[in-house]
Symmetry: C2
């Protein structure tokens, strides 16, 4: 049901901020990203490796630079999965709320198969 690799890739706060920056700037390199983040270039490079491995970004070598860009389709997939988890919990919470209300109204007939 859930793609744990995709989720865990997006689960790290630094990687989320990186995706934000890549989307805002339309791409970037490990160096440009680390300029805008409180971590070293090495840490950013590792994260880019993770994001690349799950396909959330793709890289284009250009001379001595390696430019990364977000893969929009894959990120859309990740977003869909976030929504799916949220929707599942939402549904369960609402079901619980309904049950609670039913109990509230008449305790003597409590019972659900």
């Amino acid at each position: 049901m859930i793609d744990d690799d995709l989720w865990s890739a997006v689960g790290d706060p630094t990687r989320r901020r990186m995706l934000d920056l890549l989307l805002a700037d339309g791409g970037g390199t490990a160096t440009t990203l680390s300029d805008q983040l409180p971590v070293t270039r090495q840490a950013v490079a590792k994260h880019l490796g993770v994001l690349d491995r799950v396909g959330l970004v793709h890289v284009t070598p250009a001379g001595r630079e390696r430019r990364y860009e977000v893969d929009e389709n894959q990120l859309a997939r990740a977003v869909a999965q976030l929504s799916a988890v949220g929707a599942t919990w939402d549904a369960r919470l609402q079901r619980i709320k309904r049950i609670a209300e039913r109990i509230q109204r008449g305790k003597e007939q409590g019972g659900e198969s």
Copy 2:
């Protein structure tokens, strides 16, 4: 903008499954949860500690048992934050798509403030 503690609490796949189980069963203990999970009771107990610390569950000692239940309000908050991140990325992806289409239509007038 995002509560990293809440996010990272639901970021772990085991904790997500625990929340699922707690919602489905209407609560549980470390032992009952570990029965339904591929990890030991100790691991479950640690996770319950994490969830308790961020307020996603609350515990009721009952004899030798410690019964945990989901805090619906807090989980609703977490769900809202998931949706928020998803919505942000969704919006940016759509903006990118619009820009791409504009470029596609007429490259000679490209340029956005």
